[in-house]
């Protein structure tokens, strides 16, 4: 963009015109042209703006509603549009025609102009993308992902570790129906699936193959694949990880005695038994009179798998129904904590009950003991028969859960880094720590699946229970590595149907990331964002904070530790910008300078006015919408606060807090998304990181003899719009109590 030509427009609509003195407000625009319009978003309003653009205006500051509204009307190509939220944040939440409200509006307009002066339209980072998707895992979801990629016109490379495609479907020739009537059983159509995959010209199937390495970024991942000792190299645009699951190791559940008798089998082994012509006791070939299924074998147990694998109930019921047909005189008992047959699969449960002979018995199985008479004694606590009971059976089936076949890249990286410390011959504390790390991780199976050449580790990081998702409710199919999407039981336990829909979804996500990458656009959640972080490496001190704190592993590093950006991996959260102590990272439209100048644009009344000023740094993802909602609901809050939206709380550089306090702000309120186990941060750990940085800030405050209460971090969800005004008011009250900032006026 050449010389900036800025014009300011104020909208009179939505009570803005009647609540504020717009003439006075225009006064803050200085030399810039400032006009008003009765309703800017109306077609004549937009036309007026377009006329201005034709006349040479290339930067517009619009004092109107929240930027979250009317975005279509104010999307003016080629023009930088800076929105100043006079509606939700000023006139709808504060007293009309009041001195403080007017001051607030003026500050916001000044801040908007300051931002408009410094921001620039981003120049997108585009790539020549490879329209091929690598799918790792040739099971149900992997095959589906390959098929959907191919059907969408992409090429697919389908990699399977085993000698044949098919995955777990090979072990389950009969499954419960995934379509009406839900109570029924159906043959697994593996051959049909295989045929459509093998026959598709866009799919290349590589069996007995593993991934040796993946490097690069979405659009241009360079992969090497190893098949029986030979390696081949390819380029793909994105990756679908459909590596599936393995059964939980039943021998670790000691009280269930797996391994102590051949008559104690897992649900997978039961599947094999059911498919034999003769179903007899595995130990001695005698007939089976009574058979017991033990549900949640190791599942929903904090010592084993703390989660529910979602399918074991249905699998046991399916097997019980098959047993009724195969051995009608055998009595089947299903010992359960809770039967979980979600949605229409309740019909399957009902069908089993209607067969009149499958005994569903609630209780906690305390133990299984092989007896001398060849039978197995089950001990059940809290049974519905009112006490502890013992039941003798001939065969016990343990319904074990699913463990994702994935690795945690961060853990492997810890191990490799520790090994590197030892290999370098380091001494002292470093060596001791490294040894301790290796000792700690010794028990874990740390074989990498993806072999990513990423500084943060060779696999995607995992969240709860070792699943590699990045919040599976908010971001289904996304991992914390851009361009790598998850499908099937690697993401979360699911049935064949779930694996199939996962396959489709992950393939579409992968395709989307390639397509967006070709346009230089970010993927979810800042979809369409064309800005990306730029580094001034001359000033970089190789402190590695950006490399470490990036939630998406965007940055690799060279031998010296200088970060090596991969813009297509970036989700544009700005956490690197917040992390950098040297402030060398910036976006075209979001930088240290832009926010600092906005902070400086606020007029600080002198100490005799007794009008405190609070800076609110507020996350755009949840907190800002919550604030808008509070505005729509006309909730009132303090006029002392000035909000600046930030991309993520993690993108807050502490220099801004220092700037604000030295400028005379009396307090800083940071509002971000919920952190912790049930975090809602759109960038995984933004508010968590800010929590840590906030501690350092407070320490600094104490050094400056300032009260540490002047900086507060609040976390909320998008639904907390009623709480947010309360938070603001409570903080304003507290600041008034603490008193004005002694640095005011310096």
């Amino acid at each position: 963009m050449d010389q900036k030509k800025i014009a300011v427009y104020l909208c009179e609509g939505c009570e803005i015109g009647t609540s504020l003195d717009l003439d006075a407000l225009a006064g803050v625009c200085g030399t810039y042209a400032c006009k008003t319009h009765p309703c800017l978003c109306r077609s004549d309003g937009v036309r007026t703006l377009e006329d201005h653009i034709r006349d040479g205006v290339n930067t517009l500051v619009l004092g109107a509603c929240s930027p979250r509204f009317k975005s279509e009307q104010f999307n003016l190509p080629g023009c930088l549009v800076e929105r100043v939220n006079l509606r939700e944040q000023v006139v709808w939440t504060h007293e009309a025609n009041d001195e403080d409200t007017q001051m607030m509006a003026e500050d916001y307009l000044r801040m908007g102009i300051a931002r408009a002066e410094r921001t620039a339209l981003p120049d997108p980072f585009t790539l020549d993308v490879e329209k091929t998707i690598l799918i790792i895992g040739g099971g149900t979801s992997g095959m589906k992902a390959a098929l959907e990629s191919a059907r969408a016109g992409f090429k697919a490379i389908l990699v399977e570790k085993e000698a044949e495609l098919g995955g777990w479907k090979r072990r389950f020739p009969v499954q419960f129906r995934h379509s009406p009537p839900y109570g029924g059983l159906a043959a697994t159509n593996l051959n049909g699936d295989l045929k459509s995959v093998l026959d598709h010209p866009n799919i290349e199937v590589l069996t007995s193959t593993t991934v040796a390495s993946i490097e690069g970024q979405p659009g241009q991942f360079d992969i090497s694949l190893r098949t029986n000792g030979t390696t081949r190299v390819s380029r793909v645009g994105a990756v679908v990880q459909a590596t599936g699951w393995k059964p939980y190791d039943a021998s670790r559940i000691e009280h269930l005695s797996y391994g102590k008798s051949p008559d104690i089998v897992t649900n997978i082994e039961m599947e094999d038994l059911l498919n034999k012509p003769q179903l007899v006791r595995p130990s001695d070939g005698k007939p089976i009179r009574q058979i017991a299924f033990i549900q949640c074998a190791g599942s929903r147990d904090p010592n084993h798998l703390p989660y529910c694998s979602a399918v074991c109930c249905r699998v046991s019921i399916k097997q019980a129904i098959q047993l009724r047909e195969k051995l009608p005189d055998t009595q089947t008992m299903i010992f359960y904590k809770d039967i979980r047959t979600p949605a229409q699969y309740e019909d399957l449960y009902r069908r089993a009950q209607e067969l009149k002979g499958i005994l569903f018995a609630k209780g906690e199985v305390a133990g299984v003991t092989p007896r001398e008479d060849g039978r197995l004694r089950i001990e059940v606590d809290q049974s519905m028969l009112g006490e502890k009971i013992l039941v003798d059976v001939d065969l016990v089936v343990l319904a074990t859960g699913m463990v994702p076949r994935v690795s945690d890249g961060e853990v492997i990286r810890r191990q490799r880094d520790a090994q590197a410390v030892i290999d370098r011959g380091e001494k002292g504390v470093k060596l001791e720590t490294a040894k301790a790390t290796l000792e700690e991780l010794k028990q874990l199976d740390l074989e990498s699946v993806l072999n990513l050449n990423y500084r943060q580790g060779p696999d995607t990081p995992t969240l709860q229970h070792g699943f590699p998702d990045s919040h599976f409710i908010c971001f289904p199919y996304e991992s914390r590595r851009t361009g790598i999407y998850l499908a099937g039981c690697a993401k979360a336990p699911t049935d064949f149907e779930g694996a199939i829909s996962d396959g489709t979804a992950a393939a579409l996500k992968a395709i989307q990331s390639v397509e967006l990458g070709s346009q230089g656009k970010a993927v979810h959640p800042r979809w369409d964002d064309m800005s990306f972080p730029e580094f001034s490496f001359q000033r970089c001190t190789q402190c590695k904070r950006c490399t470490e704190e990036c939630p998406f592993g965007v940055l690799n590093e060279d031998e010296k530790g200088t970060p090596k950006p991969n813009p297509a991996r970036c989700r544009r959260c700005g956490i690197c910008l917040g992390a950098c102590p040297e402030r060398v990272i910036s976006f075209k439209n979001y930088s240290i300078d832009i926010v600092s100048s906005m902070i400086k644009a606020v007029e600080i009344p002198d100490e005799f006015d007794e009008k405190p000023r609070i800076l609110g740094l507020i996350c755009e993802n949840d907190a800002y919408p919550a604030l808008d909602t509070a505005g729509i609901l006309r909730r009132r809050f303090s006029t002392f606060i000035r909000f600046i939206p930030v991309r993520c709380l993690g993108s807050v550089n502490t220099i801004w807090i220092a700037d604000a306090l030295s400028r005379g702000f009396d307090g800083v309120l940071l509002v971000g998304c919920q952190s912790g186990d049930h975090y809602q941060c759109h960038f995984i750990k933004g508010s968590e990181i800010m929590g840590i940085r906030g501690k350092n800030v407070r320490e600094k405050l104490t050094q400056l003899a300032l009260e540490e209460e002047r900086v507060r971090l609040e976390e909320l969800t998008i639904a907390d719009y009623n709480r947010l005004p309360e938070i603001i008011n409570a903080f304003a009250d507290e600041i008034e109590e603490i008193g004005l900032n002694p640095f005011k006026g310096f």
Binding site: Y349, L385, G386, I389
Partner: protein
């Protein structure tokens, strides 16, 4: 492993309960809605969920010695509210049916009562017995020197002289009562043995006082009033209960009048009683109440299967006989006033067959609930298990 109990599931017994009407037993998902909504169930160890679960496991001894099955009045509150359509009320009915069969002597009659296809035999037995009685009427009268002539006009006593009728019925009634008393005794013992109350709990009330409380309850049907979804059932049962009681008392009065008081009376007994005789009035009102009660109960069973559950032949047999006894009785009386001889005697004979069935099948039919329920409620009253 203290107090651990070895459970041996008995699928055969479960199947029997299924056959006797509890076909939804496996639909139970053990949620306890039934026990929670039941107005009659005690707070500790409430029924019917535990009985349903015991049925799934086929725990025969627990079920047969369980007094709680008899505390249930089958009002259907549980079945109406069961989220899985398991009909706990019907399952309890099936268990009761099983219990009646189990405790009654002789066993073969019980088996016939519970097997479809035996109905003709069950009708044939009293018919044959009554015909036999008719055959021996005159020779016996001659032998005993009793006049069978009850005077001119249409008199049913001419068919069955009072001495024959009363003698015949009384002897079979005694047999029946002996059988049901034996059943009651065996049940009482089983209840005492049952592990429902695992602690050795001392009765909180004396047997007699508990019994009297229960009798008072019967008279008022107070407990029956606890049912919410089928208020009509209480009314129906009241009608049947008082109708039957009236008829029974009047019959007894007639016997007493005939054979105890008559010999001391100066004028011979005016027989048959006039329509306005107080005993006759009571009898007619009783019959009407009985028929009305049965009608309501039958309509309820047909129209309201959701709450009542499916009615089995066991239910219909007892209800049907009761109803028909009332109807044929009234018709018999009417035909006498109409002096319709052939029809009158025919209906009278049918009436006798039905009444006879009612009496001799007492220990095997639903009629026996009179004794088992009385015992169970007395026990529950004694143990403080009643709400």
């Amino acid at each position: 492993m203290s107090n651990a109990v070895l459970i041996q599931p008995d699928i055969a017994f479960t199947n029997q309960i299924i056959e006797l009407g509890g076909e939804d037993v496996f639909k139970c998902m053990q949620c306890a809605t039934c026990s929670a909504v039941c107005e009659l169930s005690p707070a500790e160890n409430p029924f019917p969920r535990k009985e349903v679960i015991w049925s799934q496991w086929g725990l025969k001894n627990r079920l047969l010695g369980d007094p709680d099955i008899w505390l249930c009045h089958n009002c259907g509150d549980c079945s109406a509210r069961c989220p899985r359509g398991a009909s706990p009320g019907t399952i309890l009915s099936a268990i009761r049916r099983q219990a009646v069969w189990h405790y009654a002597t002789p066993q073969f009659l019980g088996a016939w009562m519970n097997r479809a296809g035996f109905l003709p035999v069950l009708i044939l037995i009293p018919a044959v017995l009554l015909l036999l009685a008719l055959l021996v009427r005159d020779p016996l009268a001659a032998l005993l020197g009793i006049s069978s002539d009850h005077g001119p006009g249409m008199q049913y006593a001419n068919l069955f002289p009072h001495w024959l009728l009363i003698g015949f019925f009384t002897s079979f009634l005694i047999l029946s009562l002996v059988s049901v008393a034996l059943g009651g005794l065996r049940f009482w013992r089983a209840v005492k043995r049952s592990d429902l109350l695992q602690t050795e709990q001392a009765p909180s009330k004396s047997l007699l006082s508990s019994f009297l409380t229960v009798v008072m309850d019967f008279l008022t049907h107070k407990r029956f009033g606890g049912c919410t979804v089928t208020a009509t059932r209480k009314r129906a049962h009241l009608g049947i209960f008082y109708g039957f009681l009236a008829l029974f008392l009047v019959s007894t009065w007639a016997v007493v009048l005939l054979y105890v008081l008559n010999p001391f009376m100066e004028t011979p007994l005016p027989y048959p009683f006039s329509f306005w005789d107080p005993a006759k009035i009571i009898a007619n009102l009783g019959a009407l109440a009985l028929v009305a009660g049965c009608l309501i109960a039958m309509v309820e069973r047909i129209a309201n299967t959701k709450t009542m559950g499916r009615s089995t032949e066991f239910d219909w047999l007892f209800l049907g006989i009761l109803f028909l006894v009332g109807v044929t009785g009234l018709v018999t009386e009417g035909l006498r006033f109409a002096e319709s001889v052939t029809a009158g005697y025919t209906v009278y004979f049918i009436h006798l067959i039905l009444a006879f069935m009612l009496l001799i099948y007492l220990p095997f039919s639903k009629f026996s609930h009179a004794i088992y329920r009385t015992l169970a409620m007395t026990y529950a009253e004694q143990m403080g298990r009643r709400r």
